[in-house]
Amino acid sequence: MKPQDTPSALEQWLDERFKISFLKKWLGKKEVPQHNQSMWYYFGGVALFFLVVQIITGLLLLVYYQPGLETSHTSVKFITEVVEYGWLVRSLHSWAANMMVAALFIHMFSAFFMKAFRAPREFTWLTGVLLFVITLGLGFSGYLLPWDELSYFATKIGIQIMQATPIIGGFMADLLRGGPEVGGATISRFFELHIILLPAALMGLLVNHLLMVQVHGMSKPYSYANRPVKHQKSISFMGEFLYHDLIIWSVLMGVLLFISWNFPWGLGEQADPFKPAPVGIKPEWYFMFMFQTLKQLPAHIGPFEGEVVGIMAFAVGGILWALVPFYENINKTVSKVVQWIGVFIVAFIIVMTAWGYMEEPEAPLTSATIGVPTSVADTSATQELFQQSCAACHSIGKGALAGPDLKGITDTRDREQLANFIVNPAGSKMPVLPGIDKSKALELLDYIEKTSHPEKATEAQVEAPKAILTPSRVSPETIENGRKLFLGIKPFAKGGAACISCHSAGSATQFGGGSLGMDLSGVYQRFGGRPSLEAWLASIPSPTMQPIYKNQPLQKEEVDAMVAFFEELSTQSSPTTKSVVKPPAPGDELFSKKSSFFILGLLGMFSILGIFSMVYNNRLQGVRKPLIKEALEKNAVNKGDTP
């Protein structure tokens, strides 16, 4: 007996209290069969590993994330752009989520094809399927939380699809959205789902699932179970199998880090409920096959809506899938049919997913299609009202400024709803317009409609919205003046607070700007150029800023200087519509850090391997013991007596 096998006083003390030796004995007995298909046994552990990564990175993200219409996007942006290693933590969380779903797909289908769900393991399967569904729910709910364009529309579409479910669909959709539209209430609800409800359910089911795996042991395929006992090779679960697991986990950690580091997860523009959906919008890959299937269905199948039929088919299919242990083994024919259906499902998912990704998105909007100017000579009071109240943030057909382009909005949205929104824009960025009432709102809508459809818009009138972005000639002094005003080096003449108290502006402020307001480095583009930015600064209609600047407006020359400064900034940063946040590229000073990071990572990986080879230094006993036993038996048979 080796010295470390005699328990120390501490071990004895612990053992009396926690029954460790019982646990050890119980877990030590568990063996993992070794055969051609043994590799599939590891995927549950792989999913578990990613779950641990999700929990750790999720807890870290929670330190800075603030759910809310105003704060969700800002706080995620803060995490990815300002917090040290924040982009990496978020990238790990997103990538590991996807890998976890992938591992679960493999785990579930391998269990299915190895018929691991058969008696007595029906409930291991059932909890497994529920865990899979919960994981998809976590993916869906987590996707919304950064509140960028893509996540907003993905959620909108996802819930819309759910809504088509007969009877419970409408109720479920309202429950998830917290109202008729995806908005602030939805963020709160998804946050609760993602942080509390689903993880709690997942943990409960997972304990059950893992306990059941321990109780029943690993399932053995028939080909293996039918072998003579001495050919049923196996390794011990707590020994060699766990050791393999650790190797796999270390390698996966490396892969995950590599991908997360080199392909950091992007963050799109903040969601805007009135902006058209971005071209080429796609669901997460694991929902793609369902999305694609529903897209292919005709509008009507018999008396029913095509989508409803599709959703019902998926629902029924899912239930049959979850209940497969209860009918699969009735007789050989059913068993065979189920096996082939499984093959068909895998093929279906692969084909539909590939199809979904191969479909070309529609051609993106060009300047020609969005740049139809208004040629209607409308000098009415409504036009004036539009100029006063709306034009600082909206254009009609000249591209998005601070708010979306309103061209054609009356074609796609309900007038009544729009009018109500204008009168009471609660929950959006839009301020309440002074003196607005329903009739004025309707007049405005008339004006927008009329301007959206000019009788004749000839090619000659088509003007690219970029034209207003051509750099204007300003002296360097004006720009410098603007910079000083922004940074508060020079006070505003009327005493308004310096911009930097609440805002940052990219490289101009480094990390020195305030974070109450947004970063203003791209403000020039967002407003679509000088005229609207000038108009905006001259009146400052934002509800947060109005109380500060109402009595202390900016002077004409100050506005000029500020605009010049923002214009100058835009030439430096020139963000595009897709502002994907990236860490510093290789080549700058982080590169050396990066390679050392990996060397250290490798060291760490080997250290873990080393430790476990020592902790489990008798790990080979599981194999060696039967071999010796076998040899002894053989000897005994040869000699004709017992050893």
Partner: protein, 141 residues
């Protein structure tokens, strides 16, 4: 030293290294990046005759709370109203002619001196200046 022991120490060292590799970025992540703010040096607190003798006004001095008191003699006194005991914000009690911290009953006189209760030091003084137009500016002491 036996090989087993050597390997044990090696493994222990590697675990510590690994822990540091994971731990240090996490600690760095947890440290909130400082938000620089323009340091406040001067604040316009009250306009001429806004405060009658015996009245007071609280104000923001950057991120700190300020208290401006016009004494019965008409002279302005300004303090950082953070109680020197445990950092609560103290208040002016005109009827008792003192500055009082409600958390643990600390009392200061109208010049900021600690009179009774737990505060160990007088309130931090700020300088109140009357401009030529009669407005009151407060600046760091």
């Amino acid at each position: 030293m036996q090989r087993r022991d050597f390997l044990k120490y090696l493994a222990g060292g590697l675990v510590l290294t690994w822990g540091a590799i994971v731990g240090i970025p996490i600690l760095k992540y947890l440290k909130k990046p400082a938000e620089k703010e323009a340091a406040v040096t001067e604040v316009l607190v009250a306009v001429k005759d806004e405060l009658q003798p015996g009245q007071s006004k609280t104000f923001k001095f950057g991120k700190r709370p300020g208290l401006l008191i016009r004494g019965e003699d008409g002279v302005y006194e300004a303090f950082d109203s953070t109680c020197t005991h445990l950092g609560c914000i103290s208040q002016h009690r005109p009827e008792k002619r003192d500055i009082y911290c409600a958390c643990h009953g600390g009392v200061y006189d109208l010049k900021g001196g600690n009179v009774s209760g737990p505060p160990p030091r007088p309130l931090e003084k700020l300088i109140a200046k009357t401009t030529s137009s009669g407005d009151v500016m407060v600046m760091k002491g």
